[in-house]
Symmetry: C2
Subunit: 224 residues, 2 copies
C-alpha cells in the first residue's frame, strides 16, 4: 500500500491527519504487539517471557515481532515506559494548600482504581522491582525519589501547621500506601483466595479502598 491511497481518510484531528496511512498502520501494529507483550511480561517476567508467546497472543508470526521491535529488550523497555506513564501521575495531590484528609483519600482511591484497571501494568512493574529493577533503577533514585522527597516536605508543613500527626514519616507512609494498594493487583490471587472469591469484584475493590482510607486517615491523626 502506498501513501495517499483510497484508505487515506481526511481526519478532523490535525495531528492524526499528518500521519501517512503507512505510519498509522505501523502505530496500530505496534500497539497490538505492545498490548500482547505487556500481558506476557506481566505473567512471566522479562527473562521467562518468550517472543513466541508474545507473537501467539498478538496473532502474528514470531518474525513480525522482531520486525517492529528489533530485540525483546527494546520491546520490554517500551512496555515499561508505558507502564511508568500510568504510575507517576498520581502524586500531584499532595500540595501544601490541599487538605491532608482529602488528598490521602483521593490518592488511595486513585491507586486502588489503578490496581483494578491496570493489573497487567502493575505486575510488570512489580516484576521489575522484584528482580532488582535492572531497567528502572535510575528512575527510582532520581525522579521518584525527588517526588517523594517533595511530598515529605509537604507533610512536614502540614505537621507544623497541626494539620496532621507529627510522628508520621511521609517516606514510609508512601511505601505502605504503594504496597497496600498494589497488593490488590499483584497478589490478587492471594486476596481472592483468602476472601473466598474466584475474582475480586467492584465491591471488593471499593471495600479495600474504604478500609485502607479508614486506617490511614485515623493513623495520621485525621478525623474521618
Amino acid at each position: 500500500m502506498r501513501i495517499g491511497e483510497a484508505t487515506e481518510i481526511p481526519a478532523a484531528d490535525s495531528a492524526v491527519s499528518q500521519k501517512s496511512a503507512r505510519a498509522r498502520s505501523r502505530a496500530v501494529m505496534e500497539q497490538r504487539i505492545l498490548a500482547a507483550a505487556a500481558a506476557v511480561f506481566s505473567e512471566a517476567g522479562f527473562d521467562a517471557a518468550t517472543t513466541a508467546a508474545i507473537a501467539e497472543r498478538a496473532g502474528l508470526p514470531k518474525a513480525n515481532i522482531h520486525y517492529y521491535f528489533r530485540t525483546k529488550e527494546l520491546l520490554y523497555q517500551k512496555v515499561l515506559a508505558d507502564v511508568l506513564d500510568i504510575w507517576i501521575e498520581q502524586m500531584d495531590l499532595f500540595t501544601t494548600e490541599a487538605d491532608p484528609a482529602v488528598a490521602l483519600r483521593l490518592y488511595i482511591q486513585a491507586k486502588v482504581a489503578l490496581a483494578r484497571s491496570y493489573p497487567i501494568e502493575s505486575r510488570v512493574f512489580a516484576n521489575e522491582m522484584l528482580h532488582g529493577a535492572p531497567y528502572l533503577g535510575r528512575f527510582l533514585g532520581s525522579k521518584l525519589k525527588a517526588r517523594v522527597d517533595a511530598i515529605a516536605t509537604v507533610f512536614a508543613r502540614w505537621a507544623a501547621q497541626g494539620k496532621i500527626a507529627a510522628d508520621v514519616d511521609a517516606h514510609h507512609l508512601m511505601f505502605t500506601l504503594w504496597a497496600a494498594t498494589q497488593t490488590y493487583a499483584d497478589f490478587s490471587v492471594q486476596v481472592g483466595a483468602v476472601l473466598g472469591v474466584d475474582a475480586l469484584s467492584e465491591k471488593d475493590y471499593e471495600r479495600a479502598a474504604e478500609q485502607l482510607t479508614i486506617l490511614v486517615l485515623r493513623g495520621c491523626g485525621l478525623d474521618n
Copy 2:
C-alpha cells in the same frame, strides 16, 4: 563409603544418630542445593531460573542437581514448602485473650524482621503469588483462609468488647500488614532508592516497623 565406617560418629541426639552416614551426607547435599535453588528462584522466578545457575551457585555439576531432585519442578516445590514453613507460624499472636495493641505491635515487628532476615524466601513467595500461585493456590484457599478467618473472629470479639475500633475489617487489615511488611523485602530496591541508600540498614528496618506500628495502632483506634 559404606554404612558404619570410620566417619560414623555416635551422636548425642538420638534422632540424628539413627540416620546413617549416607543419609546424613544426602541431607547435607540436599540442603546445599535447596539454599542455592532458593537464591536463584528468588532472583529469577521459576520459569527463568535454570538448573545450570543453581548448580553453579551450589558449586556442583549440573547433573548432581538432577540426581538429588529429579526435576526442576520438584526442587521448586521443596523450596516453596520450606518458605511456607517460615511464613505461616506468625499468626498465633492474635487470640481473644491477647491485648490488641501488643499483638499488632509484635506481629508487625516479627514480619519486618522476617523481611529483613529472609528476603530470599520472601521473594520466592512473591514470585509465586505474582504469577498466579500455580503451586500454592490450594494452600491459599484452605489453610491460609482458615487462619485469617479465625483472626477475623478474634477481631470481632475485640470490637464487641470495645477493645478496638469496630469499623476495621480484619481481612483487609491483614492484606495491608502483609503488603506493607513484605515490601521491605520484595521491593527493597525501590525503598532503598527512594530513601537514598544503597542497602537498607538495621535502622531503616527498625524505623519501618516503628512507623507501620504507629499508623496501624492509631488506625485501629488503639492508644499508642
